[in-house]
């Protein structure tokens, strides 16, 4: 009965309904972001448990500079809206506008990283490095992981700018830009948790 050359009979609908190209990429990337969210939740929980364990070392009130944190928050918030403008340009197939707004987003992302690296360097210089106390270990793990995400997001952003520059706003590049958009806004959401629970709550 069965010949190897024929397709097996389909007992289910092979094409139940039309999915537009890249729709499964978006939902898949969203699920990745949720798993990333769980990883941050673990780091937040660790910080929450250890935030009072100073080991007779310096606490948040001696270490943190809220003006610097406010500046960093502003950088990240600006980068969020400039990325949004890039997406609006992309929806209009405006390649130059997209590249321009992506470039501005990249500048804000790099400024954020520069300030964060300065802060880390300053803390380590004060002798408040990650090995000083459990509080500082969990602080560097949480804030450092977020910074690492921003760093990789920036690399991704540069990659996509090169791609868009060379191949234009083809559907594949639009899909990639949508994924990075989710990633970039997601990092801003995580940063809300960081500046609230780590910096502001530490200073109250």
């Amino acid at each position: 009965m069965s010949t190897p050359s024929t397709q097996p009979a389909a007992y289910w609908e092979v094409e139940p309904h039309h999915h537009e190209d890249g729709a499964s990429t978006n939902i898949g990337f969203w699920v990745y972001l949720m798993s990333d969210c769980l990883m941050f939740a673990v780091l937040f929980a660790t910080f929450g448990v250890l935030h009072g364990s100073y080991a007779a070392g310096p606490g948040p009130k001696e270490l943190f500079d809220l003006e610097l944190v406010a500046l960093n928050t502003a950088f990240l918030l600006f980068s969020s809206i400039t990325y949004g403008f890039a997406m609006l340009c992309m929806a209009r197939d405006d390649q130059r506008g997209t590249l321009r707004w992506l470039g501005i987003t990249l500048v804000f992302g790099l400024l954020f990283l520069a300030v964060e690296l300065y802060e880390f360097h300053h803390l380590i210089h004060l002798g408040a490095g990650p090995q000083r106390s459990a509080f500082l270990s969990s602080f560097f793990a949480l804030v450092g992981t977020h910074g690492l995400h921003v760093a990789f997001g920036s690399i991704w952003l540069v990659t996509l700018m090169v791609q868009v520059n060379r191949k234009g706003l083809i559907p594949a590049n639009k899909r990639r830009l949508s994924c990075l958009s989710l990633f970039w806004h997601f990092l801003d959401v995580i940063w809300i948790g960081v500046f609230t629970l780590v910096y502001l709550m530490g200073m109250i």
């Binding site: 969203w30 769980l38 949004g84 992309m90 801003d188 959401v189 709550m201």
Partner: protein
């Protein structure tokens, strides 16, 4: 949730108005907690903490709606379902960790400070 009437695109990239609304709301919701804490906070620490955390929760919702374009029908509702699931797990994980470790600390600390306590206090 009202600023999404203009998009004809099958993919939701948001609208200019949506992004600006989200941005302005985010700036306000960031400025309030920073101003409160940098100004020394309210007399009651609990009230200060409540305002700071309340602003953060509202701002996360603002970002989700205006920047991440979440709604009940994007990806046939799967983004909303997966997000709600994640929120449940996150709340259980963080609240559970804090609860368990808080009790561990209160149970362990008197033991560690044994010499500092007057004799006969510990049962």
């Amino acid at each position: 949730m009202s600023a999404r009437s203009h998009d004809h695109d099958s993919h939701d990239h948001g609208s200019f108005r949506g992004y600006v609304t989200g941005f302005v709301l985010s700036v306000i919701l960031t400025a309030i907690p920073f101003a409160v804490v940098m100004g020394g906070g309210f007399d009651s620490r609990a009230l200060t903490a409540l305002v700071v955390i309340g602003c953060a929760i509202v701002q996360v919702l603002v970002h989700m709606v205006y920047f991440l374009h979440m709604n009940s029908h994007s990806e046939e509702g799967w983004t909303l379902i997966s997000t709600l699931f994640t929120v449940v797990i996150v709340v259980i994980m963080i609240a559970g960790s804090l609860w368990v470790m808080f009790h561990l600390n209160t149970n362990m600390m008197p033991q560690m400070n044994h010499d500092l306590l007057p004799s006969g206090v510990q049962s």
